[in-house]
């Protein structure tokens, strides 16, 4: 134990010696931050989005191996539930896919920071037994399919982009998520961004009034319907499509290129969009040659001023770890890591976390 403390002190001294060195090392518990004792047991609870849940649960188990005294419990009850619970102070951190609205933020007891934690993509999966190649969809056609205007697979608009494919003369069976979900929010955000008519008539949200189609519950429900029903199209999180080996359509992005939903294409979208100071931005229909257009950040919600300094410090360190060491787990779980340019802004924001007058990440 003593050796470890010496090591930490040494690290800190080294840090002071080479002021503001790159890359920023993780803050460490030393004499400079006396609130959280080395072995003090802390338990944190979080609640919110289901979309990044596989990644967060991986983070929690990995972080717990490194810091056995910190127990974290994350309940994937949905973004709406996460926002409600952090607002009511029943959990230590929230998580949401769609950023909080202003009136929601007003109900919180303090200022909530949005911390972009990972990047995910929503893919358009389909079941076309006759088509062997990858389906290509322009934003206009995708909007028209979900608006019920393109009804048949051999519609001339679809044929125009898929000259090589043998599109069948069958009805398109459209499937959407019926339960409120960040996935729907991300997908409709994209549809609303590429079509003014969609934005006006249907709108953007976690639950919308779909002009056509069938509702399935959860990503697993949509996946099940696409998998079992020929001539179906549905939107799901990337992980569900890749794990179930469903074909994913290439979408035409803003630059006019057809792009498959690869991790690189998700990163390209994130790199193409400048992150503003409030750390909340939409990646829908992003610029950039290689950008996949239905990409989104997923956020953690943390109070700027922690009521409990011990918990606040433990949480700040966990989030810091997740955004640095935790990012290497993203790719295997179908998420894209946070780009370096964004990370430096997030680091600055995490250093602002405090409990009363005391900064929680004093070691950094």
């Amino acid at each position: 134990m003593l050796a470890r403390r010496n090591l930490l002190v040494g690290l800190l001294l080294g840090l002071i010696a080479c002021k503001e060195s790159q890359p920023a090392p993780a803050p460490s518990a030393t004499e400079a931050a006396p609130v959280l004792k080395q072995d003090e047991a802390v338990s944190l609870t979080g609640a919110g989005a289901t979309f990044p849940y596989p990644l967060y649960s991986k983070w929690i188990s990995e972080y717990n191996k490194l810091n056995p005294n910190v127990k974290i419990n994350y309940q994937s009850i949905g973004s709406g539930g996460g926002i409600r619970q952090i607002t009511a102070n029943t959990v230590d951190f929230g998580a949401t896919d769609a950023p909080m609205k202003e009136d929601e933020a007003k109900q919180a007891s303090g200022k909530l920071f949005h911390i972009p934690a990972t990047i995910g993509a929503v893919v358009v999966a389909y079941n076309l037994p006759e088509v062997t190649g990858t389906l290509k969809l322009s934003s206009e056609v995708l909007v028209d399919i979900y608006a019920g205007k393109v009804k048949r697979w051999n519609d001339p608009k679809l044929k125009a982009d898929n000259a090589d494919a043998k599109l069948p003369a069958k009805d398109i069976s459209v499937v959407y998520r019926t339960d409120g979900s960040g996935t729907t929010a991300v997908f409709t955000e994209y549809l609303g961004k590429v079509s003014a008519e969609w934005k006006e008539k249907v709108g953007v949200g976690k639950v919308v009034r779909w002009p056509t189609g069938l509702g399935a519950k959860g990503n697993e429900g949509v996946t099940g319907q696409v998998k079992t029903t020929p001539y179906t199209i549905g939107y799901i999180e990337r992980a569900y499509a890749s794990q179930n080996k469903l074909p994913m359509a290439e979408l035409r992005n803003k630059a006019g290129k057809f792009v498959a939903p690869s991790i690189e294409a998700m990163s390209a979208a994130a790199n193409a969009v400048e992150m503003p100071a409030e750390l909340v931005v939409s990646l829908a229909n992003a610029d950039g040659e290689g950008a996949y257009p239905i990409t989104s950040y997923s956020y953690l919600l943390v109070y700027e001023d922690a009521k409990d300094a011990t918990k606040g410090e433990a949480l700040a360190k966990y989030v810091w770890w997740g955004l640095h060491d935790g990012q290497k787990f993203a790719k295997d779980l179908d998420y894209a890591p946070i780009p370096a340019t964004v990370l430096s802004k997030v680091e600055a924001r995490l250093r602002e976390l405090r409990s009363g007058d005391r900064k929680l990440l004093s070691g950094a």
């Binding site: 709406g80 019926t178 409120g180 069938l214």
Partner: protein, 329 residues
């Protein structure tokens, strides 16, 4: 009526507590009675608290939409406009459809098990039927997605459309998922409830009735029809009500197959939506006070519909019980 006068003066009462029939009551009975009564009250209190909480939770929606909530058909969280008619329709229609399938099957199973089956078969078959009630509803739902819906889409619905397509019930796109699939799933789930209660009811019919009918030269079918069923009628209605209650409240399995679209359509092929499903689907992600309030009001409506249907059913039992040719239990 002063009961104390009826107590003989020769007997010294051990306690002064008397029942309303004038019998003396010992302390054990007194405590037992009060404890069980308070447990019963607790259930009533829980029911009242539930109703109060739902009215309180839906206050905003009640004042904003009023009665229009029950008659409006548009449910649009983006614009904060809420109408629950498609959910009410979907709930009642799917439950009644389920009864149409489940009642003949269940009563048939019950008659077979109580009247006709050889003794060695009754136990195992009855046990297997009841086992169906223990299958979790998510399993039924998954079976619905992967087996039932494809089968309906590929075989049943095309057949119905070919043969009975002139009826409005069998028209439109055949997708497998929809009202028909929802009704069938519910029917499978409520069959064990109805059949096991019905079997107990039929068993309670005195053998003398059967023997009398058979002795007069009735066939087994005639004995069941003339002697057993009329006697058991009110109990059978009770069993059906129990099944209906389960169908109305079922959430998970039906959500997975009914198509979840808030539209009213006469076609059994068309997707529909139930009250329980919309709460389960949207509550966890709902933000905004009017939205939450509208969902609470859907819960309140489900409560009201369930109570109303139960009242109707009780009246039915009461009426059936009073019919001259029918026996009563």
């Amino acid at each position: 009526m002063s009961v104390s006068q009826e107590v003989s003066p020769l007997i010294r009462p051990r306690s002064k507590i008397l029942t309303r029939f004038g019998h003396e009551l010992n302390w054990g009975d007194f405590v037992f009675r009060r404890v069980t009564a308070s447990l019963a009250m607790l259930m009533l209190a829980a029911l009242a608290a539930m109703a109060a909480a739902m009215v309180y939770g839906s206050a905003e929606s009640l004042s904003k939409f009023g009665l229009g909530f029950v008659t409006a058909q548009v449910w649009d969280p983006v614009r904060d406009v809420y109408g629950a008619l498609p959910f009410i329709y979907g709930t009642i229609a799917s439950s009644l459809l389920a009864l149409c399938f489940a009642v003949p099957i269940s009563i048939g199973v019950a008659i077979f098990l109580s009247e006709l089956a050889p003794a060695w078969l009754r136990g195992p078959v009855g046990f297997l039927v009841e086992l169906l009630a223990a299958v979790p509803s998510v399993v039924y739902g998954l079976w619905g997605i992967f087996v039932l819906a494809p089968w309906l889409r590929n075989s049943v619905e095309p057949l119905l459309a070919r043969t009975l397509g002139f009826l409005p019930f069998f028209q439109g796109q055949q997708r497998g998922f929809g009202m028909l699939a929802g009704g069938i799933i519910l029917a499978i789930m409520i069959t064990p409830t109805i059949s096991s209660v019905s079997r107990e009811v039929l068993r309670a019919v005195p053998s003398s009735l059967r023997e009398g009918a058979l002795g007069l030269g009735a066939t087994s079918w005639e004995a069941v029809r003339v002697a057993v069923l009329p006697y058991a009628r009110s109990g059978l209605v009770g069993a059906i009500i129990l099944g209906l209650g389960r169908a109305l409240g079922e959430t998970m399995a039906i959500t997975m197959v009914i198509g979840n679209r808030s539209e009213i359509s006469a076609s059994l092929f068309a997707p529909s939506y139930t009250m329980a499903s919309v709460i389960a689907n949207e509550f966890s992600e709902a933000t905004g006070s009017l939205y939450l309030s509208a969902l609470a009001e859907v819960g309140l409506l489900l409560f009201v519909v369930t109570v109303l249907l139960n009242v109707v059913a009780r009246l039915l039992v009461w009426r059936v019980g009073r019919l001259p040719e029918g026996g009563s239990l």
